[in-house]
């Protein structure tokens, strides 16, 4: 797919309600498919074997907390073909 696609969601959650969002992402990784949609727009992500995973945490003035989780990867452009298992020699 060409062009940029974007999905944004911003909310308040508490310790209980946030779990269903994180759980949904976990399941997406297990299935190697995460669908993010907003009315008519849809982004389908396929996290595969190699993903970059970084975590950043911050505590400011003793009260402001931030936990940043970033997961990124590139979709392969060329699909590698598995070599044929049989060799044919003809003359």
């Amino acid at each position: 797919m060409s062009g940029d696609q974007k999905f944004e969601f911003d909310s308040f959650q508490d310790n209980t309600s946030i779990q269903s969002f994180l759980q949904s992402l976990l399941e997406g990784f297990a299935k190697k498919k995460i669908v993010l949609s907003s009315e008519n727009d849809e982004i389908i992500l396929h996290p595969d074997a190699l993903v970059r995973f970084s975590v950043k945490a911050k505590k400011k003035d003793g009260v402001k907390n931030e936990l940043g989780i970033k997961i990124s990867w590139k979709d392969p452009k060329i699909e590698l073909k598995a070599p044929d298992k049989t060799i044919k020699i003809s003359s």
């Binding site: 999905f7 969601f9 911003d10 909310s11 308040f12 959650q13 508490d14 309600s17 269903s20 969002f21 759980q23 949904s24 992402l25 399941e27 997406g28 995460i34 669908v35 993010l36 949609s37 907003s38 009315e39």
Partner: protein
């Protein structure tokens, strides 16, 4: 009398010249001549120059004279407005004279009553200098009213001209005559501006003539004998809700039955002003010292005006942000005592149906106008479905219709922190702006109070802490009241009411990040309500810290 030598002299000249120019215009209409035409055009340049000189002097005096008092500045501003409008009248005269050249037969104009209109204009012009000199308010009002008289006369001539045009003869001439009458009518608009500038100079207040008349009538109906010029009208604040509010005080003390010194004059649409009057009367019967006394009320056309007692004190938002903590705590204590007395006295066992979600729906267009992205669309994150704002509102509305407040009390109806006054010397709380007052759920007043603190765009940590302190103080007080009265649905109603106040407050907030914070909190509360379905609403617990920023 205060004068500005030179400037006053110039004003005298421009007023005389414009009066002469108007007289010459009448003469020209009666008997056009090349000589008079040229004289009028030349005189117009002189009047233009005079206006520029006066404007320069006005700005230069305001800029350079450091010792000017407010009334001096008002006078200079008035002189500037008067001269600009005089010059405009002279321009209209030139326009009239120029239009005359398009008439094949100038006598055609004499079939219409321009003379009466020009006589009115000349009368008004001749009053300007004496009115300014004597500070004669009645004279200023007469100048204002000239516009109304001219409008009526214009209408009569306009109707006649239309009737003639429909006959299909002499159309170019008739249209030219119509233009001439239009210019004469526009001279009336400039005279109105001059009259209002004179009122401004005399009473020191920018006030529209309709508001002025309303004030005058209200004062006279209140039995106040002074002429309006003896009253010191001082605008002290404006409101977002479209009412004009000013403080009326007496210039000198005298023995009057009503304490005119320190009254508040309000003027606005009948619905709002009469609701406020009725509320004030009801509150006065129940709690005489809590709200202002009504001195006078008057309806005129679509508007009404109200004269009420001026209550001393600081608004609670001023207290929260500026006063020392012990004073603030004292104010909060008095507020608690006051609320307790009101709620206990007026508590009636009649349950109240609330409409917090409906109030969001009613204001959603206002919110969207300011924040285009306020409404969330339906979303999905993996298998997790996220409701749209509309869906949240719809479902919450259904739930709310099943929950009632177990009892009603007399509520303020717009219990914003700036509608509460604290009079420290008398240790009293006063309520103002009571036009939405009714028997209802006390949670409404509490939630509006809490969010009116929260939504103050104050981001300094120390000040925020004070606001949080006020919020916590009144919230805990209200929660204790709920417990004492076995109000089991206090938390869930508070969730609805806070969702409403967070949401609708954003229509006054242009700080995108701050309004988003409030919108997201509103969404969070609605999601918490939906997540609680299936369990008793009396078990619902308000999310901790929801109203602390």
């Amino acid at each position: 009398m205060l004068t500005f030598e030179g400037l006053e002299e110039n004003l005298k000249f421009i007023a005389m010249e414009v009066e002469n120019q108007t007289r010459s215009t009448v003469n020209f209409i009666n008997q056009p001549s090349r000589k008079l035409y040229e004289s009028i055009i030349t005189k117009d340049d002189y009047i233009d120059n005079l206006k520029t000189i006066i404007e320069n002097k006005c700005f230069s005096i305001i800029h350079s004279e450091k010792s000017l008092q407010k009334k001096d500045i008002n006078r200079i501003r008035s002189i500037q407005t008067i001269s600009v409008n005089l010059e405009r009248i002279a321009d209209f005269c030139v326009n009239i004279v120029r239009q005359m050249s398009y008439l094949e037969n100038y006598r055609m104009l004499q079939n219409y009553d321009y003379d009466a209109m020009m006589t009115e204009i000349l009368k008004a012009l001749s009053k300007i200098l004496p009115v300014l000199g004597d500070g004669n308010l009645t004279g200023a009002l007469i100048i204002c009213k000239t516009e109304f008289v001219l409008d009526q006369m214009y209408k009569t001539n306009f109707d006649r001209l239309m009737f003639e045009i429909k006959k299909g003869l002499h159309i170019p001439e008739l249209i030219t005559i119509l233009f001439i009458f239009r210019y004469i009518e526009r001279i009336g608009d400039s005279l109105l501006n001059i009259g209002e500038a004179l009122i401004f100079c005399i009473i020191g207040e920018k006030i529209k003539i309709e508001q002025f008349q309303a004030l005058e009538t209200t004062l006279s109906k209140s039995g106040i004998k002074e002429t309006i010029s003896e009253i010191d009208f001082q605008s002290i604040w404006g409101t977002r809700s479209g009412c004009r509010i000013g403080r009326v005080g007496q210039k000198e003390n005298n023995d009057n039955a009503i304490d005119v010194y320190g009254s508040i004059f309000k003027e606005g649409v009948i619905r709002k002003i009469s609701a406020e009057k009725d509320s004030l009367e009801r509150w006065n019967q129940l709690f005489p010292d809590l709200v202002a006394k009504v001195y006078g009320y008057h309806e005129e056309g679509e508007n009404a005006s109200l004269l009420v007692e001026y209550l001393p004190g600081c608004t609670l938002d001023e207290m929260a942000l500026t006063s020392d903590l012990p004073y603030l705590d004292n104010a909060l204590f008095v507020l608690q005592q006051t609320l307790m007395e009101i709620w206990e006295t007026t508590l009636s066992p009649v349950p109240a149906d609330t409409n917090y979600i409906q109030e969001i729906m009613d204001r959603k267009e206002d919110v969207q106008r300011v924040h285009a992205g306020a409404f969330r669309l339906k979303q999905q994150l993996g298998d997790k479905k996220i409701d749209s704002t509309e869906a949240l509102l719809k479902q919450c509305g259904i739930i709310e219709s099943c929950i009632q407040a177990p009892f009603s009390v007399l509520i303020h109806g717009d219990f914003n922190v700036n509608n509460i006054l604290y009079d420290h010397s008398n240790q009293k709380i006063h309520f103002i702006d009571l036009y939405r007052s009714k028997d209802f759920d006390y949670v409404k007043d509490v939630s509006v109070f809490l969010i009116s603190n929260f939504r103050m765009p104050v981001f300094d940590a120390g000040l925020r802490e004070r606001l949080n302190h006020v919020i916590e103080n009144i919230y805990l007080f209200a929660r204790n009241f709920a417990r004492r009265h076995n109000d089991g649905t206090f938390d869930i109603r508070m969730a609805f009411a806070l969702a409403r106040s967070f949401f609708t407050s954003t229509r006054f907030e242009f700080n995108t990040a701050f309004s988003k914070e409030m919108l997201l909190r509103s969404h969070f509360l609605m999601e918490k309500i939906l997540a609680h379905q299936g369990r008793p609403w009396t078990d619902f617990q308000l999310p901790a810290n929801i109203f602390f920023f």
